[in-house]
């Protein structure tokens, strides 16, 4: 088989990903501003600066919080939905379609829809007023803490259907005989879940956990659409801060260093997933 079969893929991949990734890593050790022909090697300066930059550290912490919280929500919600729909419920097909639908919509659009839903005169506040809970009205996206919660909620809203589908596939591998035997032994719902169902869908749990964790670390569209990183930069994620530093402030070197930090985070979790999955499939 001739080598040229692999050439188109290899050339475009090397040109678009491999070479720029190496260049980007190199940039992280310079003070380039993106325009001037001059760029000086500054060693680890950018990383040292990052480690003392409250804005960057804030974005890092927040990104990890978004990733972990949405991972927990998506997995609990997805598992609950999958268990609920893996029954004799008559509307299970249409319900599955509804819960999965957000997965095909652009995250940016979803962000805008929720920006409206949570706006001061939007439907959520309107509903609270209508049912006599006007005291609970909030400027949802104007408060950094509530806005962060809202971003987590929206990320989870969009991904829960994908997790549900993966869990539904995993549940097909649960032996009905085992469940029946447990029922005969008088095992309750919770015992069956913990002792039989969860162990047999462990691979699905791992896949879902890692998928949501990694996509959470990369979160950009939802933050961009819902808060633009505000108020006062207090909902900035690593990815949105990267764009601001690189393309608005022209701090290429510094932004590249931030990208390296993000890459190390994402790569470690991806490698962890890969390793765990391989171990799981060998066992």
């Amino acid at each position: 088989m001739p080598f040229w079969f692999v050439m188109p893929a290899l050339v475009s991949y090397v040109f678009v990903i491999v070479v720029p990734a190496a260049q980007g890593t190199g940039l992280a050790f310079t003070d380039w501003n993106g325009l001037s022909p001059q760029r000086d090697f500054v060693g680890l300066d950018n990383f040292v600066q990052l480690s003392a930059d409250p804005i960057a550290l804030g974005a890092l912490g927040r990104t990890v919080v978004i990733a972990l919280a949405s991972m927990a929500l998506v997995n609990l919600g997805g598992l609950a939905l999958a268990l609920g729909l893996n029954t004799q419920v008559k509307s299970r097909n249409i319900l599955r379609t509804v819960f999965f639908a957000p997965a095909v919509i652009s995250p940016l659009v979803v962000g805008y829809v929720f920006k409206f839903v949570l706006s001061p005169t939007g439907p959520v506040n309107g509903l609270l007023g209508a049912v006599g809970l006007a005291d609970l009205k909030q400027v949802w996206l104007g408060d950094p803490h509530l806005a962060l919660l809202a971003i987590i909620g929206v990320v989870a809203w969009q991904s829960v259907g994908t997790a549900m589908v993966i869990y539904l596939a995993g549940l097909q591998g649960v032996e009905p005989e085992q469940v029946e035997a447990a029922l005969m032994d008088g095992a309750g719902l919770w015992q069956r879940l913990v002792n039989i169902v969860l162990p047999s869908i462990a691979p699905s749990i791992l896949v879902n956990a890692m998928l949501t964790l990694i996509s959470g670390l990369r979160v950009f569209d939802q933050v961009y659409a819902m808060t633009g990183g505000g108020p006062a930069g207090l909902t900035q994620s690593l990815a949105t801060l990267f764009v601001e530093l690189g393309f608005e402030f022209g701090r290429y070197g510094y932004a590249a260093a931030l990208a390296v930090v993000l890459s190390v985070l994402v790569a470690s979790f991806s490698a962890l997933q890969f390793g765990l999955l391989r171990r799981g499939s060998k066992a």
Partner: protein, 273 residues
């Protein structure tokens, strides 16, 4: 477990209520998009006389038509490139043994670990110096590379489970490798081609980050970039914004409802890897 009991009925009701609440934000957006500009009132009140006035505004004032066309061109082009390049590559990587194919496969896999931000700044500069910023060409080049790791990975995983009998028969019949690929191998790959097509097409159509960087200020737009500029232009003219959302989302949702079995299977199979 197989009978429909009172508990199943309660579960069913709970799930239907949950689904209604779950999807309500999209329904509210649809309600607003169809509301004529004269009709004031709460966003929760049902739009009584739905009109396409906002949709027309989105097309005439927001130039959504051109943006949608660009989105379709990039999505179709990018997806075709992804399928062609990655299926050829996977064929070579899986069917050839030795250090080189194995090393190259690992190189492709490494791309799965990288977030796009690491390549963004240098790639932007390279494409800029080649005159590929501000037009769809740069975007297509980007997708030709960025779709490779995942697509090659999917094709390779599938190809490993395909027996070589047919290829050997084709070889004996005098087929060259290229013709064997086109007539024998590629048709056998149809299930995974479906997955590669669906995942890439959705990712490209819905991509916002890269078109935002490559097309900003050029007059060329894809649908998500056009929507984002709506937000700036109309500040809070939500009816027109949601009309734009409606127009960009409806084709995808329609496809989803028609192909949902394949799409859901593609997601579950592809993402599980």
């Amino acid at each position: 477990m197989t009978r429909y009991t009172v508990r199943t009925l309660l579960l069913e009701i709970a799930l239907i209520v949950a689904a209604a609440v779950f999807i309500s934000p999209m329904v509210v957006a649809l309600n607003i998009a169809l509301r004529p500009s004269g009709q004031a009132g709460s966003p929760l009140a049902l739009t009584t006389s739905p009109s396409l006035e906002n949709v027309v505004a989105a097309f005439t004032e927001g130039h959504l038509g051109a943006a949608l066309l660009n989105s379709v061109v990039v999505t179709v082009g990018g997806t075709l490139i992804a399928i062609t390049f990655s299926s050829w590559a996977a064929y070579y990587l899986v069917r050839r043994s030795g250090h080189l194919p194995r090393g190259l496969f690992m190189l492709f896999l490494a791309g799965l670990l990288l977030p796009i931000q690491l390549v963004t700044l240098p790639l932007y500069n390279t494409l800029h110096s080649l005159g590929l910023i501000g037009n769809l060409g740069g975007l297509l080049v980007h997708y030709a590379g960025s779709t490779m790791p995942f697509s090659v990975f999917l094709y390779a995983s599938f190809l490993r489970s395909v027996a070589t009998d047919y290829e050997e028969a084709a070889h004996i019949d005098g087929c060259g490798p290229a013709s064997a690929f086109v007539h024998v191998v590629f048709p056998l790959l149809r299930p995974v081609t479906g997955t590669v097509l669906i995942l890439n097409a959705l990712a490209i159509y819905n991509d916002f980050f890269n078109p935002l960087l490559y097309l900003t200020g050029s007059g060329q737009q894809t649908a998500p970039v056009a929507l984002q500029s709506f937000i700036g232009e109309y500040v809070a003219n939500w009816p027109v914004i949601f009309a734009g959302v409606l127009v960009t989302v409806v084709p995808i949702l329609a496809l989803y409802f028609i192909l949902q079995k394949h799409i859901i299977k593609g997601f579950a199979g592809g993402l599980k890897g």
